[in-house]
Symmetry: C2
Subunit: 201 residues, 2 copies
């Protein structure tokens, strides 16, 4: 599958990055849906160079710190586009250790189950709040527009930030999509947890 290969090519499509920069990118919004550690990224970059999909130039930072700035080649661009346009079938499994524990809820006391549930709810709420904050700071215009329109539907888990204010040709569209999708995912998780909390009270 080599998804990391395409993740790196996709990042390099718009600008050159060092291995460290790529590692940093995976700590930003796209890290909600794909990421890798530097120990996986450096060997992959080496491989992509060997395959002729990326190139690098060495740049000096300060006195003597060398960093390698990678750029995508024409061949790399072609392979990226072929992958990106290809629909894939859904994974049968989307792993979630918490839900695995819930499947085995009969191994727990009601108190233990409730503690797990509340812990998960607290964590998911915190993550949702963090994402909403990112959204407001990165896309303040759209966030404001939505707040002015007042179409919040809390009972269905649709926050104001879930509607689409962007046009197709907007360089932030990808960013906007992953942020709203991550928020929708967390909102759905929070809603489900809240709906079932009564089981333990």
């Amino acid at each position: 599958m080599r998804v990391l290969k395409y993740a790196i090519l996709g990042l390099l499509y718009r600008q050159e990055y060092s291995g460290y920069d790529i590692t940093s990118q995976f700590k930003q919004e796209i890290g909600q849906f794909w990421s890798a550690k530097h120990s996986q990224i450096y060997p992959e970059l080496r491989k992509l160079v060997d395959e002729g999909l990326v190139e690098f130039r060495t740049q000096i930072q300060g006195e003597k710190l060398e960093k390698k700035m990678y750029t995508i080649t024409e061949q790399g661009r072609q392979e990226l586009l072929a992958w990106a346009a290809q629909p894939e079938s859904l994974p049968e499994t989307e792993k979630d250790e918490f839900m695995l524990k819930m499947y085995f809820i009969h191994t727990l006391s009601p108190e233990q189950a409730r503690a797990l549930f509340e812990d998960q709810l607290q964590q998911r709420r915190a993550k949702l709040a963090y994402l909403q904050q990112r959204y407001e700071s990165l896309m303040p215009v759209f966030a404001k527009e939505e707040n002015g329109e007042k179409h919040t539907q809390a009972t269905h888990g649709q926050t104001a930030s879930d509607t689409a204010p962007l046009a197709f040709h907007n360089p932030n569209l990808g960013h906007y999509l992953v942020l709203t999708k991550a928020m929708a995912r967390e909102q759905s998780y929070v809603d489900w947890l809240e709906r079932h909390m009564k089981l333990f009270v």
Copy 2:
């Protein structure tokens, strides 16, 4: 982490299973949140036997087909309970190749993006419909109640799934939780896709 270890112990907590049975279980509902191939399961079972967490007896099926039926040991039960009661922190990344492609949407034409989006929507809708169908066949009474229909006990039989799922002591609770959570996940995905489809029309 060894999550597969606990997944297997959790399955064996209620009844004995062969390696083949465990493989089959991962193709059922719990497979929405955890799974493994038989080539990973057989070595793991071997390891669990070596560690004294499970035991097996050999059973003959028909004339000479041998199968190993595994049971959990007291030590296995203890390790399972310790894992199950332990809250874990959220994974920073929940991998989703489709969303990675959406982050790189600027590499696609509007037509290509729309095709991907529609393909994903169709697949997610189909999965949601499948899960709803499973839910209705496995938990018919509760499904009807949610649809706003009346439930009179006299008109229904006495199957295990016929009793109200929303009580802590119900042997189907785990099953109910994973099904409703999987449906919520797919519904949220479908909603998000529908809300953003207008970007491509």
